[in-house]
Symmetry: C2
Subunit: 219 residues, 2 copies
């Protein structure tokens, strides 16, 4: 089973690596990291690269497509004709088309989310509706037909467990969950807008704005 | 503040990327991915590379050291003289020395964990004691002085939030937590040995053994 994880300049590394680790631990997937050409792709760290293993054309019909988000460059990806063409072509053949964080906006820009309930990072949630999607800000993972969208960054791990369960059954997902010891115990409870204080919300939004994650046009 | 994340052939990508994403989101850290030379380092995916941004010598005295684990190659890292020398030298100067997953065994092999409570991936927990550490299998993150060890793979995210709180205060950690929307909701509850069924445990261990994560000598 072929899994294509789309890379593009400025992506957020954990958006791609979280789901990857769940599927890689489960084993038996041909996981390809794809970009216009094989080789290093710069993440939003500014120095860290992830290596694309294949060109887009070498994973044109994946069984699973995973589109990560970016804290700085989502808007560019949404206007990249090669990305949009790849996403549309892949989606026509996938068993599951998925996104993490602002990757949902790339799916939306490709026209895949019209009339679909979907989620994304809280800071760009309002942009979903502008592309005809139905925002679900209180859900961490939203499934609509064969489309799975995940909330911000770390939510890709939860999404991938749902995906694995859908592909291979719940026990396969439990085995992988134990394999990556995914028994989360965050020391604080500020990971969702509904439980973060107003001050934490304002500071986090300011931080994301400073990095270019939230274009003024999306607010 | 200089953060060195050690890369080495066969590392588990999420072990490195989880903590990275917390600190990168917080901002203000000079995060360097270090290996013997800059350039691509193969992960345990077998095809995916992470790019080392700096040589070991270019981050010899980091404020924070993060050592990831590997599902296939921890034993080799534990015998690599250059890795052990780097870890010892770095530790002499750090504010915090940390590990994720079987990265704790690299710290142990360097002699850093003698008489320290520590944790690691459940499948290699017994190897900790052989290096004089005091295993804490029920704790997700263990702090002992300036050493922070995390349980398997995904636990690096929780560890990094503790680390960030120790360095900059709890509010900084909450802001970063909201930034990566770390509000985990795993669809199953099999992430810790104490709650996984015997069958899930056996299957997960078999899967890890097949990949070489658990040398017979460690069981």
């Amino acid at each position: 089973m072929l899994v294509a994880i789309l890379l593009y300049p400025g992506l957020t590394a954990l958006d791609a690596i979280g789901p990857h680790e769940v599927l890689n631990t489960a084993g038996g997937f041909d996981i390809r990291f794809v970009w216009k050409r094989p080789g290093p792709v710069l993440t939003d760290h500014g120095g860290l690269t992830l290596g694309a293993t294949h060109a887009l054309a070498d994973a044109a019909r994946p069984d699973v497509l995973i589109v990560p988000g970016s804290s700085a460059n989502t808007g560019h990806a949404m206007r990249d004709a090669a990305i949009l063409a790849y996403v549309r072509e892949a989606h026509a053949h996938t068993r599951f088309t998925t996104s993490v964080c602002s990757g949902a906006l790339v799916l939306a820009a490709a026209g895949l989310l019209r009339d679909h309930p979907a989620t994304t990072h809280w800071a760009v949630m309002s942009a979903l509706a502008r592309h005809g999607a139905l925002p679900r800000p209180d859900e961490r993972v939203v499934r609509s037909g064969k489309i799975l969208t995940a909330a911000g960054v770390s939510a890709g791990i939860d999404m991938a467990l749902d995906l694995l369960a859908a592909l291979r059954g719940e026990e396969a997902a439990r085995i992988a969950q134990l394999g990556i010891e995914y028994d989360p115990r965050p020391p604080f409870d500020a990971g969702h807008l509904s439980r973060a204080s107003a001050a934490t919300h304002a500071a986090s939004l300011a931080m994301l704005r400073q990095r270019g994650a939230v274009p003024v046009a999306w607010e």
